[in-house]
Point group: C2
Chain length 498, copies 2
Amino acid sequence: MSFAQIEDLGRKLEALDHAQAMLGVDEAVQMPVGGGEKRAEALSMLAGFYHELATAPEVADWIDAAERGSLDANGQASVREFRRVYTNMTCLSADFVRRQVNARVRCEQLWRELRPKGDWAGFLPAFEGVVALMREEAALRAAALRLAPYDALMEQYDPGNRAADIAPVFAELKAFLKDFVPQAMAHQDERLAKRPLKPFNAPFPIERQKALGHAMMEAVGFDFTHGRLDISHHPFCGGVPSDVRMTTRYVTGEFLSALMGILHETGHGLYEQGLPSEWSHMPVGRARGMAMHESQSLFVEMQVSRSPEFWHWAMPVVAQHLGEEALKGWDVDDVLSYVHRIKPGFIRVDADEATYPLHVILRFEMEQDLVSGKLAAKDIPEAWNAKMTDYLGLSTLDNPKDGPMQDVHWPSGAFGYFPSYTLGALTAAQLWAALERDQPSARDDISNGRFVGLNDWRRRNIWSQASLWSTPDLLERATGERLQTKYFIQHLKRRYLS
Amino acid sequence: MSFAQIEDLGRKLEALDHAQAMLGVDEAVQMPVGGGEKRAEALSMLAGFYHELATAPEVADWIDAAERGSLDANGQASVREFRRVYTNMTCLSADFVRRQVNARVRCEQLWRELRPKGDWAGFLPAFEGVVALMREEAALRAAALRLAPYDALMEQYDPGNRAADIAPVFAELKAFLKDFVPQAMAHQDERLAKRPLKPFNAPFPIERQKALGHAMMEAVGFDFTHGRLDISHHPFCGGVPSDVRMTTRYVTGEFLSALMGILHETGHGLYEQGLPSEWSHMPVGRARGMAMHESQSLFVEMQVSRSPEFWHWAMPVVAQHLGEEALKGWDVDDVLSYVHRIKPGFIRVDADEATYPLHVILRFEMEQDLVSGKLAAKDIPEAWNAKMTDYLGLSTLDNPKDGPMQDVHWPSGAFGYFPSYTLGALTAAQLWAALERDQPSARDDISNGRFVGLNDWRRRNIWSQASLWSTPDLLERATGERLQTKYFIQHLKRRYLS
């Protein structure tokens, strides 16, 4: 009975989730500007209904009773996840959440206004308020979850992430990358000297790029009866597992950015579409966390779609949709020159896969100090500059816009999220290595446009497992090992030094 | 306090309405087919939340208390409407509603399957169940509302509609139209003999038709910061007043159907956009009813957009968007020949404005007999045939698909809705006449593409008045008279006999 009550509540929450997700997609894709005020009201009201239902005191009784009942392994995992989500939702008081939401919304609005001007001084007071509340939140969560404060924050995005486990992994990766990036760039310079980048045979009409994107999505396994591709300013993968809404944006001067973006989001979309639909109303049926989600997008983008094997297959597909002229005079190596380009820069979201982890590690290190109080908000620009200079040889002191003001995460109060990006990259490489052990023909399959085996492997090992296991356990069950840096490092060496 | 409680509830219901409306639009416009099952679950769950909140017993206490409080005229109207909606929602038991929804959904599904085959016999058993429940509903509503059973059904769509008021109006209109239609057709034959219909200079690419539609919508006053135009299989006007979502469908062989359809829906959209936004969370802030809504769409479509004055202005606008070739060799009269074409036919939704009311009157007469039990469901085809033969000279005995099986209304349980269409047409003509008395330059304004004065008049007299008055009172305040047939009849004579 108590389990049935939990499931009943899960179905109500799923409906509210569905509405919120779809209204969010509509807002990003097509809502006229004047619809924004009422949309915001509707979304906040739905969030209120959700919170009220999900945190009702009787829910704790249902969970207690369900835990005492006799359940099979899946049922036990289901109740465990339900409790985890319930605990995470109820460990902050409604009053605290209201104060925090207000501070975050105001700070994010200010950030949108002041970032283009690089006005750190104007932004700082509001941001200090967000940091203070984040420290309060971390302490509250830490007490409820019996975790260290920073771990309690990461727990929201990747259950099981612990700084003590991540720090040595990131330290090793940082040491490697500080040497590797200059080495890979020297190698790249040699290659480009012999074979310069070819100019694009532009323009590429958007309708054709769209058709190409659709064809590639379908080829790698996206189910268009359960999803669509639209256009938005910031590409994302949203919606619900039964109806995945992906977006991209196009430029007519080149087609590779949009296409790689589409394939990245398709990786997210395949994960969502591969979740077990019979548990879609329960937390245990959701994707495991942000690192695992990012591993799925990076698997498709970095491991598969930027490989020479993929382009061996993809060249004629591109010609078919963009026209024979589009790739006239190009061969696979000309495409790879673009999609393997390494260039250290200020901006994380524009970074290549070799320098990206350094952006993340910088934030991971600073976040821990911000949470502990070792670093004050006002001292961020100097600390940021020191690390950027050390890791990538770039000074940001006079450029806060492209330094600590570049990301929306901190202004909006999301601390503890950044590690997921790089954990996802490491995970993707480790999954690929495991898959290739199990399916030695994997690269050959890609060359021939056969993606079914790759998807079956991920469906079996990752997608269908939803939230049955913690992130580390899920990875170990899939690959036989805890998280390693070596597969990512091997991947980089193979791609950029050979 | 009680009024504040009502407003607070109103805001919650508005948010749920917003979500349901937008999810409905998304489903019709772009949802992939596989998303349907979870969408249906989400919508039914949201409807459940809505019903639970809106019909809670304490709401009756709040309304009682608010009625005893001191309120200004708007406040009183607000509480009156709240009570009206509450009474209408609570006079059926939850158990009855569940039974009825099940029967309706099953019958409508069967209808979709059997209509193309014209299988009346296969459809009848399920439909008999719907009719039986409709009679039960009518009796329950009649008791709660102290109305005659058929009036109690009409009350859901147009508060204040009474068969005793409508019957003589429709009788007069029917008598007129039975003579008028043959007369107008003879006149039309003469005209077409002298000046045959010109073939369209097709094709008209969809992108250009879309741009033309946008331009016309904007010209007649649609605010694209609070709405959009998309494509769907069945055109509609949905969304919420702050974000009106209209749809149409295009064919490339001609452009007038889509354009007139767009202008029809724009009439609905202008009404929604013109409602007072400060009351958007209260029933009093909604559009007055289906007849008034239809009057607004028919005002724009029939009174304005099919007039010679409109086309005097519109010809160069069409040329600008579809190209000079599009109207090469056409003048205003060639367009009018198409948009004024009278042709009696089986199908209501395809009917011209002269024969349309006969379709509606037929249904109005039969509905009353169905509700009272004078007509059994099984005898509908014969009764339908008798009336179609009498009113339009068309026999439907061997063709139930294009006879009583053509509309979704009855299979889905919507009885009492049909009169609204023709009441809307009469209202539109009466409003036009009143407007022209107030603004003698109205036709001249249209010739010059000036729609602001027309909109100001409707905003003042109709849109801003939302649900402050009953439909008959609203019409009388706007035009100085109760509903008349004479303005519609004058309109038809002027357009089709001169």
